[in-house]
Symmetry: C2
DNA sequence: TGTAGTCGTTGAAACGGTTCATTACCGATG
DNA sequence: CATCGGTAATGAACCGTTTCAACGACTACA
C-alpha cells in the first residue's frame, strides 16, 4: 500500500481527501506500522544503542536521561546496555547492536578498544564516544576535561593547607581515573610541592564498598603520616570513604577533608555534604545524542568534532576549612 | 540462502562439512545477520521493553540490572524507557514499543491504565507488571507486599516508643505510596493507637529535593507537637529528610528517628546509616524477565501468576533507640 | 538392478513496509 | 476535439531472513 506509506511519511504529497480517508481507516483498524519492515527496506532503523560502564552509578543514569531527552523528542528508541566494566559484556552488546542495525552507538568504552568501534563505524553504524575523548579525529566524542577537574580538586585541598593527601580510585585501566590523578599531580607541580604529597590508594572498582575499604586502609596508617585529606575519583567512592571514616568516629572535614568527583545528587544529599567536581551530566548525554542525530540526518555536511566540557569545583562542607581545635 | 539460516539456527540438521564451510565464509565476509529481517519474517523480535517510573532512582536501576542479567543471558535486547511519572511519556513509549514489535513489556505503570496494557496484550505483546500487583488475573505481575512493608516500619517505630510520627510520601496517585501508608495505619490499629499518631506530609514526587522540603515542613511545627520519628515512602525522600534535619542541627536518631523504604545502597552508605525496608530489587527484575521469557517460549503451558515478595525491615542507626539525654 | 527410504541442499515464497515507475485522471491550451 | 502537462493513485520490485516444498544423491534391501 504505497499510499498509506505516503500518508505516514510524506503527507503533503497526498490529496487531503485521500489522506483523511486513510487516516480514518488506520485508526479504525488500529493499524500500527511494523518498524522492522521499515528498517529492512530503509537499511537503518529508529533505534540507537547506549553503552555505559555502570547503570548503578547515578552519573551514568543522568547521562542516560540526557540521551533519552534528546532521542525521545526525535522519536527514537534507546537500547540501553550496561557493560559493567566487563570487556566481554561490552563486546556482546556491540554484536547485538550491530545485528539490530542501530543508527548509532553512544558508548563509554572500557579501554581504548578503538579497533572494534572503528570496524562498527566502517559498517555504517555511527559512533560517538561518551565521557571519553576520541584519540582519532574521525569519531565524534563528548567528554569533560578530567585532568582539569583533578587539578581543581587538588588545588583546593592544597590551598586549604593540606600536605598529606590520599587519592582513592581505580581500576587504573579506566582513563577517567588516570586523567583525574594526573590532573591532581599537575596541581602539585604547579604549587611546587613534592609529588609524594599525593599518595595513591588503588581500588578494584568505583563503588561505595570500594570506598569503605579504602577508608579502612587510610585509617590503618600511623596518625603522624596519615593523610589529612582525600580526593576520590568519583562520588561513589567518596561516599564510601565518608561512611568508613564516620564509622570510626573520624570527623569530616575536621579530621579529614574529602572531595569527590561527578557531583551526583547524592553528594549534596550526604549528611556531610560532599565537595565534588561537577560535570554537566545531562548535557553530556544530550550533546552526544544531538551529534549522533545530526550526523544521521545529514552525513554530508557533518563534521566530526570533539566536544570538551569544563568541570567545576563545588565546595561543600566536606572540605571546608576548619580551624583546628588542637 | 536457506542453508546459511540453518547453520545459524539449527546447526544440527546441516552436514558438518557444509557447516564449517558456511561458518568460514561468514567470518571471512564479516557477515552479521540482520535482525530486522528475521523479526519481519518471524513476527516478533529479540527485544523487549522496560518502562520504569524514574531512571534516577537507584531502586529502578537495580531492578533494571536484574532484568538485564536475565535477558542478556537469553540474548535479548532491552529497550529502556523512562516514563518519569508522566502519562504522556508512558503512552508515547508504549506506542514506540508496539511499533518495534517487542516480545513483551515489563512496566511499572503510573496509574492503573490497564486498558492500554490489555490492548497491548491483545495484540500479542506480552505484558508483565513490575513492582505492581495486577488486579486482573490475566496479566503476570511481580510485586512486593508494600502494605506489609509499611506495617513493619511503623511497628518498629511504635515499639521504640514513638507516638508522634510523620509519613512523608507522594504523589498519592502512586499505588506504592498509598499501600505503604495504609500498612503504616494498619500497624497503628494493631497497636490500638489513635490514627492521629501518624501525620501525613504529602510530597509532589519521590526525590531527594522533595524530602528536604518535607523536613523543613516538619521542623516548622511547634516543638511540643513535632514528630519524633519520620517514615518515608522511599529512600530518596528519606535521604532528603536526613539532609534537611542535619542542616538544622537536628540529630538523627537522637532528636528524630528516620526510616526509609527500598534499602538502596545509598541508604547504608549515608553518614547516618538509614533504617529501611528492603525489597529484593534485582530479584524483582530477574523474576519479571523470567516470567516474560517463559511465556514467550511456551505460551501454551504458561499460567499467569502474581508473584509477591516479602519485604524485610533493616534496622540501622537512623532509627536506633537512643537513651534520651534529658 | 530396481525401488523405497533417508539425509542434505536448493529454490522460491512470504513477512510488511518503502520507493519508484507507471498509469489514470483532470483542466488548460492549440 | 486532440494534445499536453501536471497531479494523484496504483502496482510491482525490493530489503534479508525463515520456512517449506521439491529435488538430488546415496544407502539398504529385495
Amino acid at each position: 500500500m504505497g499510499t498509506v506509506s505516503n500518508v505516514l511519511n510524506r503527507p503533503d504529497i497526498v490529496a487531503p481527501t485521500t489522506r483523511s480517508r486513510v487516516l480514518a481507516a488506520i485508526s479504525e483498524l488500529g493499524f500500527v506500522p511494523n518498524d522492522a519492515a521499515r528498517q529492512l527496506r530503509r537499511g537503518r532503523g529508529r533505534t540507537l544503542g547506549l553503552v555505559v560502564l555502570d547503570v548503578a552509578n547515578p552519573f551514568f543514569t543522568d547521562v542516560a536521561k540526557g540521551v533519552e531527552d534528546t532521542t525521545g523528542a526525535a522519536g527514537m528508541a534507546v537500547i540501553f546496555c550496561n557493560s559493567d566494566g566487563d570487556p566481554n559484556k561490552e563486546s556482546a552488546y556491540l554484536d547485538l547492536l550491530e545485528e539490530q542495525r542501530v543508527q548509532g552507538v553512544l558508548i563509554t568504552p572500557i579501554d581504548d578498544a578503538n579497533t572494534r568501534l572503528v570496524r562498527l563505524r566502517d559498517r555504517g553504524v555511527l559512533v560517538v564516544l561518551l565521557d571519553r575523548r576520541s584519540p582519532r579525529p574521525d569519531l565524534c566524542s563528548v567528554s569533560v576535561n578530567d585532568r582539569l577537574g583533578g587539578e581543581l580538586a587538588m588545588r583546593h585541598l592544597i590551598e586549604n593547607g593540606h600536605r598529606r593527601i590520599a587519592f582513592v580510585g581505580g581500576p587504573h585501566r579506566l582513563e577517567q581515573v588516570r586523567d583525574r590523578h594526573e590532573g591532581a599531580m599537575r596541581a602539585l607541580a604547579a604549587a611546587d610541592l613534592d609529588p609524594e604529597v599525593l599518595r595513591r590508594f588503588d581500588t578494584p572498582g568505583t563503588t561505595v564498598a570500594a570506598g569503605r575499604d579504602a577508608a579502612a586502609r587510610i585509617l590503618g596508617m600511623p596518625r603522624s603520616t596519615r593523610a589529612t585529606a582525600v580526593f576520590c575519583a568519583n562520588d561513589l567512592l567518596a561516599l564510601g570513604v565518608l561512611q568508613g571514616l564516620t564509622r570510626q568516629k573520624v570527623r569530616v572535614p575536621d579530621d579529614i577533608a574529602l572531595v569527590g568527583y561527578d557531583d551526583i545528587d547524592f553528594a549534596a544529599a550526604a549528611a556531610v555534604p560532599l565537595s565534588s567536581v561537577r560535570q554537566p551530566r545531562q548535557r553530556l548525554g544530550q550533546t552526544a545524542a544531538t551529534l549522533l542525530l545530526e550526523e544521521a540526518n545529514s552525513p554530508e555536511t557533518h563534521r566530526h568534532q570533539q566536544v570538551i566540557f569544563e568541570p567545576e569545583l563545588v565546595v561543600r562542607e566536606s572540605s571546608q576549612f576548619v580551624r583546628s581545635g588542637g
